[in-house]
Symmetry: C4
Subunit: 256 residues, 4 copies
């Protein structure tokens, strides 16, 4: 079987009602990936397809039990109780495409899947790196249609002129652009983050907004725990730094 440039291998072909796609792949502060994977795990979404591609890096991941996993993206679904939808499809994974052309081709194939599944709306999740520590991370938005701005504002999403100034790069941007061309309204939600490390605190805010938007209760405990861990580490680093500064000051006083 010759391998296609993008190989989508289905576990099953679920029938979904008015599905909504949520995408969270690696990126700035890994905010989108953390948020999407948290939702997959908390709502018990079921995997229905794996995506391999020659546009991914030529790499396998060695897992703790000694088995390997070829780098991949995965599609999950979750059916809402009552069978009247809207159901949810989630796109998560280890990596994004590593060339511009690969990014376009992969996003285009995901849009094909959306069209087949009858996806009604797309939410892409990402981080918005600001290059400084963020106490109370905002969730910024970008949309394909003006009417979506007001709708998202009601859920606490910030639309701020000039943010992000550089546009949105990668899957989170392309799924909006290609979604729009294919008539699927789409929203990008970006959790504000320093961008210095993997940021569960920013991801937590993304999940809060998305949980409200999608009307899915999502337990936040695990993300909060990870956010607390990170907070303890960065706070210790701050103390150490402060200690050094104080020490220098004492030294100076002494000299003075």
């Amino acid at each position: 079987m010759p391998m296609d440039d993008v190989e989508i291998i289905y576990d099953e072909h679920p029938k979904l009602v008015d599905p909504i796609l949520v995408e969270g792949l690696p990126g700035v502060g890994n905010v989108g990936k953390l948020a999407a994977e948290h939702i997959v795990s908390e709502i018990g979404a079921k995997r229905f397809a794996v995506i391999f591609s020659r546009y991914f890096p030529p790499q396998v991941i060695v897992q703790d039990d000694g088995t390997i996993k070829l780098v991949r993206n995965e599609l999950y679904y979750w059916k809402r109780e009552g069978g009247k939808g809207p159901d949810v499809v989630l796109l998560v994974g280890d990596i994004q495409g590593i060339t511009s052309e690969g990014q376009y081709i992969l996003a285009s194939r995901v849009i094909d899947v959306c069209v087949e599944l009858g996806v009604r709306r797309i939410y892409t999740l990402g981080g918005f790196g600001v290059g400084r520590m963020v106490e109370d991370p905002r969730v910024l938005g970008a949309v394909t249609r003006p009417a979506l701005v007001e709708e998202m504002r009601k859920h606490g999403v910030t639309f701020s002129k000039g943010e992000p100034g550089s546009g949105i790069v990668g899957a989170s941007g392309l799924l909006l652009g290609l979604g729009d061309i294919n008539g699927i309204p789409a929203v990008c939600l970006m959790g504000e983050t320093s961008g210095y490390f993997s940021d569960p605190s920013s991801a937590r805010r993304l999940v809060m907004v998305l949980s409200e938007v999608l009307d899915i209760p999502v337990d936040l405990a695990k993300l909060e725990e990870r956010a607390d861990q990170i907070e303890r580490i960065t706070s210790k680093l701050r103390d150490l730094e402060q200690g050094e500064k104080d020490a220098s000051r004492e030294d100076l006083t002494y000299i003075g």
Copy 2:
């Protein structure tokens, strides 16, 4: 709908008389882009097609109202009063292709469009970076046929041996080369510019020449305004610099 490598989406298929293509995409000093977009806006040209491509960067631009725009090139047309032509087609956009192969494929597709529309001549617009401030920017030319040299000189275009020494890279060069292969005479007009910033002053000179060549009156007020803004900023910078030099000299005198 699987996405083609270059996707041209038409708003309409205009019937044009002896059309002339004018290309102005981002490049040195953004001179070509500024000039072409100014013409589009001043003559009220109408968009008839959008070009998306996997050879563009995988990026959406976030606009001031919070909506996004997948990076793109656009084609506009303008019909001359009286219906006897020559009409004008304009190619403008956010970006150029980001690989050499992409550049060739995109330019080749534009030439296909030219052939379909019956384009009789191509003008590509660009900047000619000289690496120093330019008081009175020249418009340099390069052409596909010797006879065009004299024709362009009559409109004040400079042909100067060894300028540009490095040739012309990107869409402005390729549309000449591929135009020539396809039997379409073509001219590249390059506005002299420092290349240090976006240069409306150089773009203004390009538009003056092109307005005469195409016999289209184009109001220059907006470009002049932007050129004045830039002039005020650079002049302030020069004053500051001069002030510092004078201050140093005073210091030296004092010491002396």
Copy 3:
């Protein structure tokens, strides 16, 4: 004859019984390549196909007799006495693919060959670089199925959580990943190595393990000789370095 992107030219089409693929291409410490080429040479495996590809570098190697060799991979086979198998197929070569896409396409074509030949298992050989001199190199493993972990442990292969942390990149990784997708169980054996130079000592350990696993007696004399050469060189370097240190100490004593 237009050249295909991957051109496999067969010397012959051997009929093999339950064949096992062993791959050893250039990589960290050249451990995999040294080990696989040693086996090819010691068991007298016969070449049956050459692989050329535009995904390899555009380069010919000039050999000692003045003739050239276009860079390539090669496939060898070895038939076990008695005709009941399992027979062995070996993949060796000068280079690996030089782009990610090329790596995927080449590995995918090798898997096609495996399927055609009825390959039952794949062993890929590589180096595991630790960035320091290694006295007694371990052989680390990674596998496609949990049951293979125990099987390999019995042959002295180490499975160690977090090693290698960065996963396995290139042909050695992809043949596992793509083998798994195609239902072929696969094992990667990695010889521990400093990664600073071509490491026959680490390759020797790989061959020892593989010789036992495949039940093929392989004479190790030549690898041991090369390992001794390297040992003599590095030991001299250590002595020189130590000498300098001692000299400095004497100097210091003298001064003291």
Copy 4:
């Protein structure tokens, strides 16, 4: 007309007797290009095809008369008096392919042309950079068949173990490798050169050898003139340098 990835546009389809291909494209010291273009010009070879390609850089060259030329390779032929051959085909040009894949595809297309024309042998010309000034440049060789070594030695070509150690990269290497696969014997002739500048002196030696090998008298005057120019420049530079050293010595004497 959509543009092919490699577009060969024929001026004419010459009928040739036992033709020999000579390739000289840009490379180390431009030795191959200088030599091949000198031969084209001196024997009055006639152009019969132009090669454009998306694997070349997206660039046009602006010529002294203001007209442009899309970067290209060109094929010339020369028919030997008497009509009994062997005739000569020459491949020259501004550039080589700029990706590895492009290099393979272009060389493969040239081999297709060779097969169509019935080419009996290929000579590729290049420079062998040694990183120091060369008084009396050797011509080094590499061949596809052992018998060619002796044949070339008779014409003064040097075969030296380990030279070039890094193999032959680009068109000069690939045409040998792909020629060999297609049953066309091939020779690479490399003029020794510092590699610091365009080297007509080394090219002159290449032409001398090739003129004897092909039995074509080629006037060397123009190459000798250019070599003398370069010699005058580098000799002045040496004098200047020496002068500075002497001056320093005088200074030192003075101080002493």
